[in-house]
Amino acid sequence: MFIGTTIYALINTAILALMAIGFNLTFGISGIANFAYGALYVLAAYGVWMMLNLLHLPYLIAVVAAVILNLILGALIYRFVLIRVRGQGISEVIATFGIGLAVLEMFSYFGWVGFEYTLPVLIDRSYIIAGTYVDMQRIIILVFSIFLILGLWFFTHHTSIGLAFRGIAQDERTALTFGIDSDWIATLSISLGAGLAALAALFIIPLGSISPGEGYDVLIKALAVCIIGGLGSTGGVVMASFIVGFAERFTDTYIGSHWTMIVSLAAILIVLIVKPSGLFGKQKELEERI
């Protein structure tokens, strides 16, 4: 039971990291907390579902189209809404929250909830590892998350655009003097965040079904992971995913599934009390300021 729980905890960690990484990337680069993140996640999932079941497109095309659509949508959100309220923290929060709300509630108004609203698994197979039944989809998620995080790290440390991202993240004004267009970078950051939300949805949704509630859930989990890890830090996301992922699985197995939420909430409160800016928080020096 212990080994099985550990395996599932690892997978849970990967899922959490996958959910949070897009939100975290956007915040890390442009300092915008995209509260429409959950909506973008669900939107991509419904998008693929519609393309598969209503338009009968091949899977690969549907997936690529959904990711691209999300990228464009993210960019549009910045270009048409956020650019007008850029720098006003209150307005940014309300605007993205409003967008997310409108999208999610729209889907629940249509009543698109149920078991038929799900995406196909990539490979329908399962294995027994150390006496535990694990299906292929979960293994793919685990592997994909590892590659994604390594890829992102490489991207931000070794490509020019990634370095520009980091430049903006560290000091926007100085970056401007080096000819980095901060609006363009912010557009990209939201867009990439949205794209990552779509990717996360494609891998994670097949484990369950698509519903607007899933959107809120993803947002909450992404927020929890980011708060614990420290906003804007990829290392923090990985670390926090491990903590929450393992804590959730182990309380589920040994105490009871009711308690998983309490454990997450407790983790958030404890981290906030002990180390307010999160485990890997970089914001501390400038933002805590008391």
């Binding site: 605007a95 409003g98 967008i99 709300l101 629940s108 108004y109 909450i220 909430l265 307010p276 805590e288």
Partner: protein, 334 residues
């Protein structure tokens, strides 16, 4: 030929704001009207309206209080995405007191307001040290988690909730209690925000370094603002518990978080009167749209985005400007 809109304060406004020698009834009415109108309106409406719209008025007042509470926080630089937390905690405080110990509503409501404010402040205390964005995140998370926790641990009646609360003596007590509180809160805290104390609170959201540099502990001021807002929210929750004679998980529902934000944003943040006005517009509209179910919330979402982008000052400021200034087009360039 280019033109520019010029805005000039009405003479009557210039004379009446600073100088206290009011010369005519006209000027006195000009000054008093914006204050008398809502007071008379709030006191008369319950008499004029039928039973159904009286109920709507109740929820208008409750949402107005929540919107005021949101606005006070926003003025201090804290954007709450979970007013339901304040509402729900207040509701459960009153519910538990009344259900388990049979305490009278006239005691549970004030006690729940204070205790609810304290509990919410304690919950959010760790976040206050951080930038505003953390506050938004945590307020969004906590109500949702509390729902799941109540569901899981089955405390306070679990999913069933607690029912059989003592109602208030009559519907007239109900409606005049909430109206009285709304007017008191509106005028008192509007005055507070205009005072030097309010200036310090606004200073914290605008330029916290400059406030710290005056030797002011901004953390402590944020705690005060949070307690005030929390208590207002908790009061409305406690009140509703006794109106519905029930408290349960629905008190944490998204409506109680979204509608107040929408009301404050549509009405115009920063004045409290705007938040109240917003509630008086949105809640009846939402009643009228009841048939459309979830579409109401979609509408709020759209409102939020449109107003934040296109009319960030909100309706109240717009009306205020029209009342105090006249406008004309002047040529600036041939």
């Amino acid at each position: 030929m280019k033109k520019r809109k010029e805005r000039i304060d009405r003479g009557i406004k210039v004379r009446s704001t600073d100088i206290f020698a009011l010369s005519s009834w006209r000027e006195m009415i000009y000054l008093a009207l914006p204050r008398l109108l809502p007071i008379v309106g709030c006191l008369m409406l319950p008499i004029v309206l039928g039973v159904y719209w009286q109920k709507v008025l109740l929820s208008v007042a409750v949402f107005a209080l929540l919107a005021i509470s949101w606005d006070i926080l926003a003025q201090t630089g804290m954007v709450s995405l979970g007013q339901a937390l304040f509402f729900g905690v207040g509701a459960y405080c009153a519910g538990v007191l009344n259900h388990y110990w049979g305490v009278s509503p006239f005691i549970t409501i004030p006690v729940a307001a204070i205790a609810g404010g304290l509990i919410c402040t304690l919950f959010l205390l760790p976040v206050l040290r951080l930038r505003g964005i953390y506050f938004s995140m945590v307020t969004l998370i906590i109500p949702i988690m509390l729902v799941r926790i109540i569901e899981a641990t089955k405390i306070f009646g679990g999913t069933e909730g607690l029912s059989g609360m003592t109602p208030l003596p009559s519907k007239w007590v109900e409606i005049y209690l909430i109206m009285g509180v709304l007017l008191t809160v509106l005028f008192c805290f509007r005055r507070m925000l205009d005072s030097d104390y309010g200036l310090v609170l606004k200073g914290i959201s605008d330029n916290d370094r400059s406030v710290i540099n005056a030797g002011i502990n901004i953390y402590w001021f944020k705690v005060q603002s949070l307690f005030i807002a929390g208590s207002i929210g908790a009061f409305s929750g406690a009140f509703m518990t006794h109106v519905y004679m029930f408290v349960g998980m629905p008190v944490f529902v998204l409506d109680y978080s979204i509608l107040p934000i929408a009301a404050a944003v549509v009405g115009g943040p920063g004045t409290l009167a705007g938040a109240t006005l917003g509630a008086f517009l949105l809640v009846p509209m939402s009643e009228a749209l009841r048939g459309f179910g979830g579409l109401r919330i979609v509408l709020y979402g759209v409102f939020l985005v449109v107003f934040i982008v296109a009319l960030p000052e909100g309706i109240f400021h717009y009306i205020q400007r029209k009342y105090h200034q006249f406008e004309r087009w002047v040529e600036v360039e041939k």
